[in-house]
């Protein structure tokens, strides 16, 4: 059974935010409009954080894409009174919309601020709704939502793989969430962490790798590879 994970190479990420729009398109994420956005209610399952250091002209700006870290020891899961937030056998923090009663405990427990609540029924000015992805639920008011690692693509890939071969192995590289597929600099790599040869596990073992807020002990499935340094002798 695979254990899904992601590697984010910060030395490649350009902050272009292709992932952000791709995620909206794939996962039926509504736009909330300027008034709600001003209340902090905009929904972006993936965002690009930015950090300033220094003063002009010695100023640095770095980017970090942040999305659900699919923690192995996830703080969002034990707090859910209805088991809407739970851990799957493949290592995902799943969110079951029809169990969710909207306590928002999970969002408060999450260290990464990646869970989003539907304060209202989402709306699409017609005919924008014709773009909605029929493979993904449209969530209603009162429901918490978050990155699923594009579970609809995982399930479809598994069905395809089982149609092909008996053991139904999803070959490395055949399955990508929308963010990784769009990523212009190839900074996001998705795959099976239990497959030692997969690209994501090789990257996750990189000496540049670390977890976000590792000290909290949530054991994320996402590894961030730090920016490299230029070395005139050619190394990197």
């Amino acid at each position: 059974m695979p254990r899904w994970g992601m590697a984010v190479d910060l030395d490649r990420c350009t902050g272009c935010e292709a992932c952000v729009t791709a995620c909206h398109a794939e996962n039926n994420i509504p736009t909330v409009g300027p008034e709600e956005a001003a209340r902090g209610r905009a929904m972006h399952w993936i965002r690009v954080e930015r950090y300033w250091e220094g003063e002009f002209p010695d100023v640095r700006l770095t980017f970090r894409p942040v999305f659900c870290q699919q923690c192995d020891n996830a703080p969002c899961e034990p707090v859910c009174p209805t088991y809407a937030s739970y851990h799957t056998d493949e290592g995902l923090n799943a969110q079951v919309y029809n169990r969710c009663i909207g306590t928002r405990y999970c969002a408060n427990a999450c260290s990464y601020n990646v869970r989003f609540f539907n304060f209202h029924n989402p709306e699409w000015d017609r005919p924008l709704d014709l773009q909605l992805n029929p493979d993904v639920s449209v969530r209603e008011v009162g429901v918490m939502e978050k990155c699923t690692f594009c579970i609809q693509r995982i399930n479809a890939a598994r069905i395809d793989a089982r149609a092909e071969t008996e053991e139904g192995r999803i070959e490395d590289g055949t399955l990508q969430p929308a963010c990784a597929q769009s990523c212009t600099a190839n900074a996001l790599v998705f795959g099976d962490l239990d497959d030692a040869d997969s690209r994501v596990s090789r990257l996750s073992r990189s000496p540049r790798g670390s977890k976000l807020l590792e000290e909290l002990g949530a054991e994320p499935s996402v590894t961030y590879l730090q920016k490299g340094d230029w070395d005139e002798s050619g190394g990197g």
């Binding site: 799943a94 924008l128 493979d135 449209v138 579970i151 793989a161 092909e164």
Partner: protein, 193 residues
Amino acid sequence: MGGLAASVVLIGVLAGVRLISAQDRLVEPQSGSVFSPAHATFRDALAHFLGWRREPVQPIPFPHRTHFEEAFLECTYCHDGAARGPVARIPSVVVCMDCHFDVATDREPIQLLTSFYESGQEPPWERVYGWLPEAHVRFNHAPHVRREIECTVCHGDVTQMIVAEPAVDHTMSFCVGCHEQSQASIDCVTCHY
């Protein structure tokens, strides 16, 4: 990706869409200029909450039994999506007319069927099964067909029915029972996402 997906891709590329002066013009739906998962009316909300659903009323009493016993049609001849993907689909009247252009043209229901076809309309068939949107259930026929699960397991013996009836209650315990028995995944996100 399976061969199936590959062939679909190929069809897509070669078919494309021919530039025709399509006569269909998009209009603002009667339900309004905004789409939302909210219930349109109080009645809808109540009906959904109580699981109340109107009995389907079919425009023509379609005899499934006759098509199985006398025309020897497999279910997937008309419900051709079932083996390929998520949706089995109610066949278009165009499929009906493949045969009924010649067959049983003297019968009143076939004449009614033909008149729908000639007016460019589908008969207003009503779905017999289906979940509410807020159940967030995603079902895919194809893997079940590939595992050779008989259609009758979930739909009753439609081959012996005249008009299809909801013979099996598609509750979660019905699905999970079978999944447990056949050691298929009962992870929530197998179906709810």
